[in-house]
Symmetry: C2
Subunit: 639 residues, 2 copies
């Protein structure tokens, strides 16, 4: 089992391409936008109250807490993302925006709010500390804390400043005093996993072992009998501020129905699951625990081979924002929260830190270019919370059971977890591209970039995923052969590789092309992936997709929009029909349009089908032209 | 506008066929079964408490009210059905069961419960009369009263006994004192329409005009502004016993958003809608109000041309058990309450009383042989509350949004409205077969039977709907030509008719074959309807059915069951494929089974299709062999 470190934001510079564009958009537009939204300064959107809550908690303002118990986490996620934006701007030598000053001010505000014992949660500071550590099932206290820890670590990595880190460590110490296996401590955990992975990050950033030990405790404690959530005191008066309140005995929802080692399939809230399993992976890695790795690998396979939508979205049901059962993947009625796709991406990355296996990085790529990127608008100011594979606006507006699906990206949400989360994910994409040690460099994701890591210098020149050509310049400090592993995506059926202009062979190892060379002198590697434009079919166990096909090109899922094709529910792909690239990244597919019957509600009269070219565009670019129908899968017809 | 009287239960005898069988089953098995269930004497099923509540209200027992506020209506519907069972047994010269004695005992019990002022509702008698006439939006007081009135009228028609009728009239008088346009009376109406149509029945049975006038008031008052439900006192402490509690301002749910004359489309709870529109039809007829007829005709067309499932089921959404919007007919996620199909049938009949138009009777036939008959098991003791066109047991068990769909017929329900309702509908089928006046006999529904009505004697000999041959013997008392109208079903594309062995012509009038003859001497009419076995397609505006077909033969909708075909979600009909009759009423269709891909969750590999014969059976006969998948519509493939 490997134990690759997580790269730091400044280790890798993205130098262009889709990633460059998106990161720049997020850095220049989305970060300021969300920052203002959290300060309630964007006219016409719902109040966040996030910064205001801290001003109330600090004593600056006398008002009531506003929003959900999870509200602090939105600001913390923004602080992490804003720190990453500082790094992104440094990469481009772009002048700093307001973020640096805002982050310092916020750190000062947080310091003012923090209790002497380190506790820092505005809901309970404002509403009375008697609720502190109560109703962990739904109160999100440790969840919020986790995001503070993550923000602090990232901020420290980018700025070298310790002020936020000290606050976070103070809070982590407070949590460590309250929770643990020792007598007198709370033998519990949070309903929404997050603190676990955050404590591992804090441990890896600081080397302080008690943070790792506390995370270990949380990971192993969840699911033990008698159930902590059945024992702890129930909800007392925070009803209006809760994100959730499911049945008291729904332990599956928070993955606390079984110790994780005994869990054989992913259940419950998809975000909670992904965050928890990420921490489980960290524990397996840090403790070199093969059994635990097997458990979390089994859960990974359950999710990605049975419960993942084509776009990498997860969460088949609005009820509990949750997984349902194997192969239940109804693209119209699904949930597919943006945060869940982000969680899946992160989980995959933390698996890669142990094992360079394409089964992790392929999913990261799939979910990034579809389920995640689709969550943000081209103007950087609107967001999807849910990400369905089929939208009929009329149905979503008029049917209660489809009412959870947004027809258009939204400027803000009552529970605004997704906007800052997608911002920080896009801005941290670079750190997930590689894992490395002195002898090994593993390339997981492709984007034009330069990096200096563990003695390796690597440059990527590519238009990926628009093109399959990737030129790498690789050099390593140190003697002897180094191992370079380059992911050959699972969708790629053939590829060519040259090293310094010479055709090379290499071997495939868990989907990675392994090149063993003396990289002491710079090598130029030209990789040409065949990036096919093809129809994709779901496993026949996915009942809702029987007889249907979707179009993909490389990692990109395509979709139809009403703006291009009119009424979408009358369209079918032609079986074995041609697909070809159109203008501006679109695809044209041969297809049919159904006409009639239109005599009465039911008739013997057969419908008529006429040929029609169907226009598709990358899924992540949909809904930038107003509301309309959208479909990913269509039925296929012979003629 | 015509004004045909409603025939009485003893006017027409069913002499065999499917109807004969089903009526006998209901009379001999279902009626005793439900009777015992209402007395809480069936082991292993949920408590009803229905009869017990009356024993508590009468003072015989000291206990708490059990069940929903609508509970009284279940007993009343059973009393109506049991009265009809007496008639059914008389038809066959079959000895009376316990029903006659039980009905008498129950009448005595009701008399004991009835307050001096006539009020008779066990929930409010037991829980204190201060709630009387309160929270009409959801308290079901007038709804329950309506079913008492209906039971009493039917009981009187069958037995000639007045005891139950007197109780009902006492209650109706009490209601009349409380409600009306006059000052000091409540200017309100019930959240669940029923009292209106019941008062019209009471008026037509007794000739007492105040009942008609009160019904007229209720019909016209609903939907007036300011809204009664917004003005009346809200719910006070009956939460646990309510059937419903939707948003306070959801006036559409009870069709009280607009005066009915202004309603242009059917909205809200499908049963409430059908019952209300039935009463509206009665008012139009009794008041010879053409404008009101036009309003209710427009609503009929909205429902039957835009919101009705192939089986005649209505109610597209579980939320509010309600209609949604035009052409929203998802056969898997629908509701399709048995009571709503019954309501649609009754509404159609009350339209026929004004106008002999196939658009009413075709729907009655469709819903009877599919949406209604499917609601009861072959053993007569199990019932569907919801009637979907597609069932996947796993999906219904594991997905919250499909959780309202029963996988199998149930022995009983917390809200057991459907079992006694289907019993009374099947037992009263005979009275809906004809409308007649001295000069006219209109034959709407076909079943082996004999009838003597308005001077007409008519005998039907037929295996309908198994066969399309119907022999009629018709004789009329009185001089001159009579008009005989025979419905030619909308699904029938050709037919032959002979009168006394001679080919006859007749003309088609609103879908009825009109024969004008001197029926003074008995005539034998041989009608041969071509009863085709065909595929049926939905209007292309029904997005969920694009590319799909179902199989029908005459009025019967067919379905696939897993017991015959294995996994149903891999099956497709062959376009233009053959259909042929199989054994025991089944149908064989040419089709295809999809195999694969089964390599991973998503693959480039195309599925393979192999030919397979598909076995279908009448929809109403499904789920008599245990739980399993069921589908009505399948996708079609060329090859």
């Amino acid at each position: 089992m490997k134990n690759y470190r997580m790269l730091e934001p400044l280790d890798i510079k993205i130098t262009g391409g889709i990633l460059g564009e998106k990161r720049r958009l997020v850095s220049e537009v989305t970060i300021p936008y969300i920052g203002r939204a959290l300060c309630d300064e964007v006219p016409g959107i719902r109040k966040s109250g996030s910064v205001e809550n801290f001003r109330i908690a600090s004593g600056e303002l006398r008002k009531e807490f506003h929003g959900l118990v999870s509200q602090d986490s939105d600001l913390f996620k923004w602080m992490e993302a804003a720190s990453l934006a500082l790094a992104e701007k440094k990469e481009r030598n772009f002048p700093e925006g307001m973020e640096a000053a805002e982050l310092e001010e916020l750190a000062a505000l947080l310091e003012k709010c923090q209790m002497k014992d380190g506790y820092l949660n505005t809901y309970y500071i404002i509403n009375g500390l008697k609720g502190k550590w109560s109703y962990l099932k739904e109160s999100c206290q440790l969840y919020c804390a986790g995001h503070l820890l993550e923000a602090a670590v990232t901020n420290y990595e980018v700025t070298g400043e310790r002020s936020l880190l000290e606050i976070a460590m103070g809070y982590a110490d407070c949590i460590d005093k309250a929770f643990g296996a020792e007598e007198g401590k709370i033998h519990g955990y949070d309903g929404h996993a997050e603190i676990e992975l955050a404590l591992y990050r804090l441990y890896e950033a600081t080397g302080i072992e008690k943070y790792r030990n506390l995370a270990n405790f949380f990971v192993e404690e969840r699911g033990k009998q008698p159930y902590f959530f059945a024992l702890e005191k129930g909800n007392e008066g925070v009803t209006g501020n809760l994100v959730y309140e499911l049945r008291e005995n729904d332990f599956h929802h928070s993955q606390s129905h079984l110790p994780v080692r005994e869990q054989k399939e992913a259940v419950g809230h998809a975000v909670k699951a992904a965050y928890f399993y990420t921490a489980v992976a960290d524990k397996a890695r840090l403790c070199r625990d093969e059994k635990l790795y097997e458990a979390v690998e089994r859960l990974w396979e359950d999710v990605t081979e049975k419960k993942m939508f084509l776009t990498g979205a997860i969460g088949s049901s609005e009820y509990g924002e949750s997984f349902t059962y194997a192969y239940d993947l109804p693209g119209d009625l699904m949930y597919g929260e943006t945060c869940a796709a982000i969680g899946l991406f992160l989980w995959g990355y933390h698996m890669l830190r142990m094992d360079t296996d394409r089964k992790y990085s392929d999913v990261m790529e799939r979910t990034f270019f579809n389920g995640i990127l689709g969550g943000i608008s081209e103007d950087g100011k609107k967001f999807f919370y849910t990400n369905a594979l089929e939208i009929d606006p009329e149905r979503c507006k008029k049917r209660k059971d489809y009412g959870h699906l947004e027809i258009e990206r939204q400027s803000w949400f009552d529970c605004p977890c997704c906007p800052p989360n997608i911002a920080r994910l896009i801005l941290s994409f670079n750190r997930y591209m590689y894992t490395a040690s002195i002898r090994e460099l593993n390339i997981h994701l492709f984007a034009p970039s330069t990096a200096d890591i563990e003695g390796w210098h690597v440059e990527q020149y590519t238009e990926y995923p628009t093109e399959g050509k990737i030129m790498l310049v690789v050099e390593r400090k140190g003697e002897g052969k180094g191992q370079l592993r380059i992911r050959i995506p699972g969708w790629c059926e053939s590829f060519l590789v040259k090293v310094n202009g010479e055709k090379a062979k290499g071997i495939l190892e868990k989907g990675y092309l392994l090149l063993e060379e003396d990289f002491g002198c710079k090598k130029t590697i030209e990789l040409e992936l065949d990036i096919p434009l093809k129809k994709v079919y779901a496993n026949d166990k996915v009942k809702s997709l029987a007889g249907k096909a979707a179009v993909m090109r490389g990692p990109l899922v395509y979709c139809l929009e009403q703006a291009d094709n009119g009424e979408l529910f009358h369209l079918f792909f032609k079986e074995d029909g041609k697909l070809e690239m159109g203008k501006t990244g679109t695809v044209l597919a041969e297809g049919y349009r159904m006409d009639g019957p239109d005599t009465g509600l039911y008739a013997y009269q057969k419908p008529h089908y006429r040929t029609e070219n169907i226009k598709l565009m990358p899924y992540y670019r949909w809904n930038n032209r107003g509301a309309g129908q959208m479909r990913v899968f269509l039925g296929e017809r012979k003629r």
